[in-house]
């Protein structure tokens, strides 16, 4: 009986020791994960309870689940079945919310790869909007300080819509201009006369902040806000505001390129 008790106490002490050692290792590992930008040690801003659940409770299994979902994305895409793509992309990005590459890949996949598979330009336009929505409405909400995501979003406006050619390209530009005209009323903005309802819609639905748009108009414009290149300037400008020295460079390049496409001479500004 006594021997059993001694063994129990010893085992208890051993488990405590293991916990202690594990805890010490965990601090170092968490630091390394944060350094490399991996995993759940990344501090998520604006994270919903479900997001916290998926990142903390699932722990290392998130990667496995994301892999399975990613395989399904590839399989469905190969079969030409796109119904689930938005949901699967949403889940994958939620499982890896701190990874810029994952957000960028899925937005690009929808806006570029899937949209070109559509025979009807209206369907293609819907997929471009799905890609934009993934970055703008979710990726940037969870990673508001990541300039690379702003650049990726700006690229969709600059390249996918702005530089699209052929009948689909014309359709995308027309649809974009129509949507923006419905929202803003015209190519240039009357900032003083913006109604509360429009301003709320701009902020909540399109994530367009009038104060930033005014800043851009004063600095480079006035810009034609019915053109996608102006929106590329807007997102690159917002990325630049969040970026350090290194991140600002590619946002600067995007601003220059987009202004050039709008026919604005950057040297004069």
């Amino acid at each position: 009986m006594i021997i059993r008790r001694i063994i129990s106490v010893l085992l208890f002490c051993c488990s405590l020791l293991c916990f202690g050692l594990g805890g010490r290792q965990n601090v170092a590992l968490a630091g390394k994960r944060a350094d490399y930008g991996f995993g759940f040690s990344v501090n998520l801003i604006n994270a919903s309870p479900i997001m916290v659940f998926s990142t903390v409770v699932l722990g290392g299994f998130r990667g496995l689940i994301a892999d399975v979902l990613w395989l399904r994305v590839s399989y469905m895409q190969e079969k030409g079945e796109y119904f689930e793509m938005v949901q699967l992309s949403n889940w994958i990005t939620k499982l890896e919310p701190g990874s810029t590459e994952v957000w960028a890949y899925h937005a690009w996949n929808m806006a570029y790869n899937i949209s070109v598979m559509m025979s009807d330009p209206a369907d293609g336009w819907r997929w471009i909007k799905n890609g934009i929505s993934l970055l703008r409405d979710e990726g940037l909400v969870y990673n508001p300080d990541d300039p690379a995501l702003y650049r990726e979003l700006g690229w969709l406006y600059q390249n996918k819509i702005g530089r699209a050619t052929g009948a689909s390209g014309i359709y995308y530009k027309q649809m974009f201009a129509k949507e923006m005209k419905g929202l803003l009323g015209g190519a240039t903005l009357d900032y003083a006369g913006l109604g509360a309802e429009i301003e709320d819609k701009m902020r909540d639905e399109y994530k367009l902040l009038p104060e930033i748009m005014l800043e851009i108009d004063v600095r480079y414009g006035p810009l034609d806000w019915l053109r996608p290149e102006s929106h590329a300037v807007y997102w690159a400008y917002r990325g630049k505001l969040r970026a350090g020295e290194k991140g600002a460079r590619f946002c600067d390049i995007m601003i220059r390129q987009s202004l050039s496409m709008l026919g604005i001479d950057i040297q004069e500004k």
């Binding site: 079969k79 030409g80 079945e81 796109y82 119904f83 689930e84 793509m85 938005v86 949901q87 949403n90 070109v116 598979m117 559509m118 025979s119 819907r126 997929w127 909007k129 799905n130």
Partner: protein, 458 residues
Amino acid sequence: MTKIAAIALLAFKTAVRSKLFVSLMVVLAITVIGLPLTAKGDGTLAGDITILLQYTLGLAAIILGSVVLWSACGTIAHDIQEKQIQLIVTKPVHRYQIWLGKWFGLLLMSAILLSFVGVTVYALLCWRIKNSHADDIERTGVYSEILVGRKSITSLSESFDDEIHQRMDWLVENDRIPEDMPYQEIYTKTKRRVLSEKSTVAPGQSKRWVFKPFSCGDSNVSVYLRFHLVSAGMDRKTVSGVWLVGTEQKPDIFRSTMDKCRAGSHSILVPASAIPAGIPTVVTFINDAGEQAATAMFDIDDGLKLLVRWSGFKMNFLRAIVVIFFYMGLLSAFGLTASAVFSFPVAVFASYAAVVMLFIARFVVLTNQPIHTCSRCLELGYKVSEVQIAMHKVINGVEYFISSLTGYDPVPLMVNGMVVSWEFTGKALFLLFILYPFSLGVIGVYLLKKRELALPII
């Protein structure tokens, strides 16, 4: 029969009393109602409906199946552990009556829960369609392509074996094959190459597919011609051409122009009047000629199909729910048999491990390559050992067994607007609800008979 009914009722009452039934109903309600509200489609009504059917029914079946297996594992094992079984076995009740009673009890629980899932999903589906902002064209598309039970008629397959062997002869004679390359690999690759060539239509050329005679039933019924174009690498050129549907004598009863079609699955609506009754239907594709024209490549694995409306959605949905119920019956039988021989934790572990292994084995058997023992391969110097042949037969057997268990998932069929036919339901009934549960029942009853149910307590 009264004894079985009494035990079944007792098993059901125990499940209800243990709050399992109510908790499961709450979980299922959250899943079935909550998931479609949070899941995102691709922005179309068809996408929403597909997600609703696939995710809710699929997830509800997984949850229900897991819990049914869990409950079944505990049913007899708990009775033995808590010695309640002694009250039953001391009465004039045969062991098979105990097993059957428990099984029917679990089936009753599954039936009620599955009915709840079915009614809720159907109600949600109606609500989603009613409240959708989709236009009439989109709604019509949903009703004719998803909310329907269509039968798929594939074209008559042609045999290219002679051509494959001729090609292989040429490759061997010209030393184009590495010496260490196995025969199966050469055959498979050559076959795919030949099939790819046969599925390709160059600009200005045409290709014909012949379908065996079938009836559309009603002259107002629409038939869909479905084809899958594949893209040649990075070249995403569009394909234009003309589709003709008719007979050998009159191949152009119906004509449809295809303009700038991209890679992917496409459907063309064909009037039933273009489908001849009693004679083979011939479908022809004529690729556009000219400098801008591109080669059309049809998917060799997903061939050309004619989709004919076979039943309405309500009956299709009902049959799908019934097939899911058969799966619950199989899982209950499996869990009960495990609980007849093991204690509860061991039964749970063994049952879940078996189910997981079954799903993993599905992927393992995919690697099974066909073995060729023809005289031609012997002439070419490729020999297959007896062991290889025996192993191949074993894997084939395993593959058949696995497909007989997992090949009756009705959800993918329903989501693609394909019919869950009476034949399919009947086969599922025989295999999943009669043959396998009966076999498991026999084993379970035998083991229960052999098991010591009242061990002396020291």
